[in-house]
Symmetry: C2
Subunit: 338 residues, 2 copies
Amino acid sequence: MVTIDDVAELAGLSKSTVSRVINHYPHVSQEKKERVYQAMETLGYVPNSSARSLRNKKTKMIAVIVPRLMNPFFGQLVESMEVAANQQGYQLLICQTMYSQDTELGHLNLLKTKQVDGIILASLENEWNNIAEYLSYGPLIMCNEFDESAEIPIIKLDQIHGGYIATKHLIRQGHTRIAYCSGGHKSMVANHRKIGFEKALAEHGLRFDESLGFFDAYTIENGIEVFKEIHKMDNPPTAVFTGSDEVAAGILTGAREYGVDIPGELSVIGFDNQVISRIMDPKISTVEQPIEQMAQKAVHVLVEQINSNNKPAKERYELPLELIIRESTVGGPLRAVE
Amino acid sequence: MVTIDDVAELAGLSKSTVSRVINHYPHVSQEKKERVYQAMETLGYVPNSSARSLRNKKTKMIAVIVPRLMNPFFGQLVESMEVAANQQGYQLLICQTMYSQDTELGHLNLLKTKQVDGIILASLENEWNNIAEYLSYGPLIMCNEFDESAEIPIIKLDQIHGGYIATKHLIRQGHTRIAYCSGGHKSMVANHRKIGFEKALAEHGLRFDESLGFFDAYTIENGIEVFKEIHKMDNPPTAVFTGSDEVAAGILTGAREYGVDIPGELSVIGFDNQVISRIMDPKISTVEQPIEQMAQKAVHVLVEQINSNNKPAKERYELPLELIIRESTVGGPLRAVE
DNA sequence: ACCAATTTTGAAAACGATTTCAATGATTCA
DNA sequence: TGAATCATTGAAATCGTTTTCAAAATTGGT
């Protein structure tokens, strides 16, 4: 392996000088600079990053913790983060919790062992007070998923508004009996959507029928299950609010199997504006989330935290959501209200 | 930051002994062992991994290079790789090329700078002879995408067979005029599928009509475009072979828009057995690829390479593909052959 | 031509671990 | 009991950088 000493020797200089050239220090004569570059070139020298990290106490790596990549929301989030991280000169390490608390804590150890300079939490399996202690080892920020009590930067979406506009739309179409699907009881994202959902109901003097709630729906398969449950109800809902386009797609798939027309007999709204929502038949109304923007902001904020020597910060960024009306919620049997 | 010296001091021992305890060396008395553990515990000591990497010349990190994560095939591949890597005590760094040659070369520099112990190439933007030189800095292996001339381990799928069985199935349904879609001219995966495709045709005395070839189809949008092209042909095909379920889904979407019945007027077969193939209407016939198995094997082989001190190896592993018949290719207007 | 200020350089000390080497202490065996 | 073996420990070197410190070389002003 060719080291800085080899370069120094070939160039006939000390390694201090070589190091200075590499790091673009001022006060190096043009002549020596060129001799160093020449030597590096002929030797094919590249600095060893472990040595650099050790000395600089910076690894130029960050990690992102997500539940799993197959979930297209997180796939997209991580894709955008990787690009943003590279642009800022960082490598992105990917950590999946697979919904396990222990795995999550295991990943947080990357901070302790100084394998990464900071971590983006896009998933939250453990209580915040079990995570907070890791803060003393390096910066943590939250992205998408969050816990208000955490005194760290949070980049999130306005989920309350998201739940609200989606529900409002259903109500405007004349629905009064609306089912609610979401993924995860402890997710604050899901909680906030529910708040928006109920806010919209309340504005129209409606109350949520608890028997229409489904709180463990993540996948297409779950969506199919949900449809089956709904289908056998005596007094079924006329619309269903879902927490993801996949679940919505599952409901459509279930409905097709049972010959139930959507939106004719049941309206369905998704969440995320994933490609799938555009190609299902009928096309799924949904709520668009600015994932790329959120990912970029998160990387940016984390890098800032890293460079500010982990100076405590607790900024909050909230990005807007947008309703996208397609076919799965319009032209149903109910007349539009207002 | 608490270092091994702090532990040594508190335990009243030398750091050599502490190191030996950490690394489970034999010949450390039970008593000192306990004193060390005690000290580590009270100080909350965790070894610094940059220091370790520097000394051991091993980072316990590997990288995987993919085009992009949004592509569900690669999303699934990376998901499985991350899990497998963790199980083997490695962290997975994700590198997207975004189809850029320069970006790919940039990622390969991770090996030069010793940021990773090895790299899995699941994407190949550059010619192999431009990549080969990196081999002197650490192990490289290919997974899925490949170049036969590369003298490194290759874990791939039997794409020739995949192309063959899919086409054979279409021919059995009575099709003789079959369009062919794939992503990427230089991809050997695509090439092999084409070979299988033509082999099946040849077996039935059919020849491929070059005007029915589409070679830049990756996404749903591309699929829609392909459908439009086909739709305005004077002598359109009665079936289309696609290189991915997304493209197949795009064709279905295009067909729906134009009121063309599938499989009634056009049969479509996908590739991958992604969820989307199960929920489109009609459900898409496809070829199942054992992605998880391939991912695990790849990680395994790479780790082996790393531990064998990069001893040259050029094993080839070929995993089988399986035809999955659903609705998009059966019950078409043509009578089944044989 | 001389002094002060400023560039430019190199030797040596970090960074935090692991490993070699040699020394000590304990044990075995005759 | 003495020699030989083996288990146990610590001092110091090492991995490949960056940075501090001080010395040497240059510049500028008079």
